[in-house]
């Protein structure tokens, strides 16, 4: 790393004692690059082995990498923590402006320790961390919080505002952290951890210069990467229709989870497709800072006020494939406007849209089957397709109004352990299912991925590109392992995964060399494996075992494009994956 690169600076913040300090840790970055590599090392250092996620010693770690602030589409921040949701590894990546703001404030990572007595928000700038009273903000929605902080603090265009809503304050374990209104540290409950710590928001601002080893090579490489990003056909679709472009192809394939995955095709798919949204509702497109893709699609939803004629409001609501799946097909909702109303409320309460949709889907089926009654639901009768009832249930989940809603606020694994219905509780490693029933690959990714996210190793993509004869448990495990290994480097840079076709190992090594890192193309897979294994052993020490994972019966019952999936195949692949992760020991 270059001696004048501020990446090596780690900002430590103690919410209990209201102190902060900076430590320079060049070796930490030289050995782990940044992002997920550095964050996982810091988590290992900070998080005691036997604590509950609510413990004040559960740290919040934010990390960026060498490519942030220098190269295009390097636009993500990695957050790491002990997950309030599945009690294993909490890892979540967000776009927006936070990665740039943190890097240009002059830090590579932030470690937030302790717990505040009363609500605070943090301002992180080149001078360090400032603690501000947030009592007046506690209880406000995500958008209100953003509005007040935006007006009170400076730095518009150079800052990022991370904040939680009521769901996080109340400790709903799948509460998210929202940044720049439309991007999220969505999964695994970072919002709940903010809530435990009485941390309402973090504002980060900075605009410093960053050094490179060779100015001419930097400019040339930048131009080459930007050209490749613009000319990659697979990226074009994210730019045009956005990720929602996936609704129709997945439905055609018979891989779009519908009504809690009782079906994998949705008769209303056309009406919730990316094309439908784009033609009728798309109101604006946005980009994360330093990204040429502009994949953020906002719908303009015009709604009348019922109490006064000719009185309307127009709300801009972001939509993507996953939220549409979880709160559309999964709930049997075939109205794009209905989905947007749900997403708007989810965002304002500060819930994770994916987990929320799956939770509502489980609750609907549990109600249909008589496992829960109107006594539990406080008189509501959830029914697939019924937008209005879902809108009433969301605040009850965020408030944890009674035992039933408090159970829902802990996810489907928890709720089904209490009320039954485990066979159709669609969670993998305690995290609710993403929108792909494409075959073994997808479900293996959900099961084996360090974050139990579809993005860990993109098995859904292998389901579509591998020939059936190529698919064996061992081979699939090897492919997904190699993919997950590579993605550790991408998320240490920290690049958005949409840039993966451009940022291969060779390009990443070149980018790192320009940032002053001494990595060869051949070294990177080894570093990736080291990071992946570190995350696995973090989970294993807390009782995680791949071979003990629950496989929801529902995924074996509903036909996939690869036919009926067999449990033995998945179990064998899990064993193979475990061998790969444990080969060579803890390192």
């Amino acid at each position: 790393m270059l001696p004048n690169d501020p990446l090596k600076r780690v900002l430590y913040v103690d919410l209990s004692s209201k102190r902060f300090w900076v430590e320079e840790r060049p070796e930490l970055f030289a050995e782990n690059i940044g992002g997920t590599g550095v964050a996982s090392k810091l988590l290992e250092e900070e998080c005691p082995p036997d604590i509950d996620p609510t413990d004040a010693r559960n740290p919040i770690i934010l990390a960026v990498g060498p490519a942030n602030g220098l190269f295009p589409i390097a636009s993500k921040t990695v957050a790491m923590f002990l997950s309030p949701h599945n009690k294993f590894l909490g890892e979540s990546h967000a776009g927006g402006r936070s990665a740039l703001a943190l890097r240009l404030a002059g830090y590579g990572a932030v470690v937030i320790r302790g717990k505040s007595q009363s609500p605070v928000y943090l301002v992180i700038d080149p001078q360090g961390a400032k603690f501000r009273d947030a009592r007046g903000l506690w209880g406000l929605t995500v958008s209100e919080t953003g509005r007040f902080l935006r007006e009170r603090e400076g730095g518009s265009g150079l800052r990022s505002i991370l904040r939680i809503g009521p769901a996080g304050e109340n400790g709903c374990t799948f509460a998210c952290v929202v940044t720049e209104t439309y991007r999220h540290f969505g999964r695994l409950g970072l919002g709940a951890l903010f809530g435990y710590k009485k941390l309402k928001a973090i504002l980060i601002t900075g605009k410093r210069a960053l050094p490179v080893t060779d100015r001419k090579l930097f400019r040339e490489t930048y131009d080459e990467l930007l050209e490749r990003l613009k000319n990659t056909p697979s990226l074009r679709k994210y730019h045009d229709i956005g990720t929602a472009v996936n609704v129709l192809p997945l439905n055609k394939l018979g891989a779009l989870p519908t009504r809690n995955l009782q079906q994998a095709r949705f008769e209303g798919a056309e009406k919730i497709s990316g094309e439908y949204f784009a033609e009728r509702l798309l109101g604006r497109r946005l980009a994360c800072a330093h990204c040429p893709m502009a994949c953020i699609h906002l719908a303009a939803l015009r709604t009348p006020y019922e109490d006064e004629p000719y009185f309307y409001k127009t709300t801009f609501i972001s939509y993507d494939y996953e939220p549409i799946y979880a709160n559309g097909s999964m709930l049997g909702i075939d109205s794009a406007e209905g989905i947007l109303k749900i997403l708007d409320l989810i965002d304002n309460l500060g819930l994770d849209a994916m987990s929320t949709g799956v939770v509502l889907a489980w609750a609907t089926e549990a109600f249909e089957k008589g496992l829960v009654t109107t006594e539990d639901t406080l008189g509501l009768k959830p029914r697939f397709g019924d937008v209005e009832t879902y809108l009433k249930m969301l605040p009850l989940i965020a408030q944890q109004r009674n035992d039933f809603y408090a159970a829902l606020a802990k996810g489907v694994a928890f709720a089904s352990a209490r009320y039954g219905g485990e066979d159709f509780a669609l969670a993998f490693g305690g995290n609710e299912m993403p929108g792909y029933h494409t075959g073994y690959g997808a479900h293996l990714t959900f099961l084996t991925g360090a974050r139990h996210s579809h993005l860990d190793s993109a098995g859904y993509s292998y389901d579509q590109k591998l020939k059936p004869e190529e698919i064996s448990p061992t081979l699939l495990a090897q492919k997904l392992y190699a993919e997950e290994t590579y993605r550790q480097i991408l998320s240490s840079a920290v690049c958005c995964f949409f840039g993966r076709s451009v940022y291969n190992y060779e390009t990443l090594a070149k980018v790192f060399r320009i940032c002053g890192f001494d990595y060869d193309e051949k070294d990177l897979p080894l570093v990736g494996e080291k990071i992946l294994k570190r995350k696995y052993f973090f989970k294993k020490k807390r009782g995680f075992a791949l071979t003990q994972l629950k496989i929801p019966r529902r995924i074996l019952e509903t036909l996939s494009p690869h036919g009926k999936l067999k449990e033995e195949f998945l179990r064998e692949a899990l064993l193979s994956y475990q061998k790969l992760l444990e080969g060579g020991g803890e390192g």
Partner: protein, 136 residues
């Protein structure tokens, strides 16, 4: 002389590629020397605004400079002579567009010189470098 124009601010998606391009003129990353600024109009739901020097014929920044560090640029706007600049910041105050920025590291103003390097990176044709027509 050419000048940079903001053609249609409503086409801006907020990628800030122009800002990073402006910094890369110096061969570095980050944003300390960036002379163009993209920010939301009070939250991203309200859209974006692009702030950059519009090359005034009679620049107020020049008028207030106590050391003569700002020289009139042919075609409008100013050219900064850093050696003469004290870093008083009067020019920043004088610009009604708030289009003069501040480099915290050098404690000197940052002003667009209308080179057009940023415009080449705008994916959505928000920016354009225009050759000034000479008066007929």
């Amino acid at each position: 002389m050419a000048r940079l124009k903001v053609l249609d601010v409503d086409r801006c998606v907020g990628c800030q590629l122009c800002m990073f391009a402006c910094q890369r003129r110096t061969g570095t990353g980050g944003l300390s020397e960036c002379a163009i600024h993209v920010r939301s109009r009070g939250g991203l739901s309200r859209g974006l605004t692009v702030i950059v020097c519009r090359a005034c014929e009679d620049p107020p920044c020049l008028t207030v400079c106590p050391t003569g560090a700002l020289l009139k640029r042919r075609g409008g706007g100013v050219v900064l002579s850093p050696k003469k600049c004290l870093g008083c910041g009067f020019c920043v105050q004088a610009c009604p567009l708030q289009a003069i920025f501040w480099n915290e590291e050098t404690q000197k103003p940052v002003i667009c010189m209308h080179c057009g390097y940023c415009a080449a990176y705008c994916p959505h044709h928000v920016l354009k470098i225009e050759e000034e027509q000479s008066a007929a």
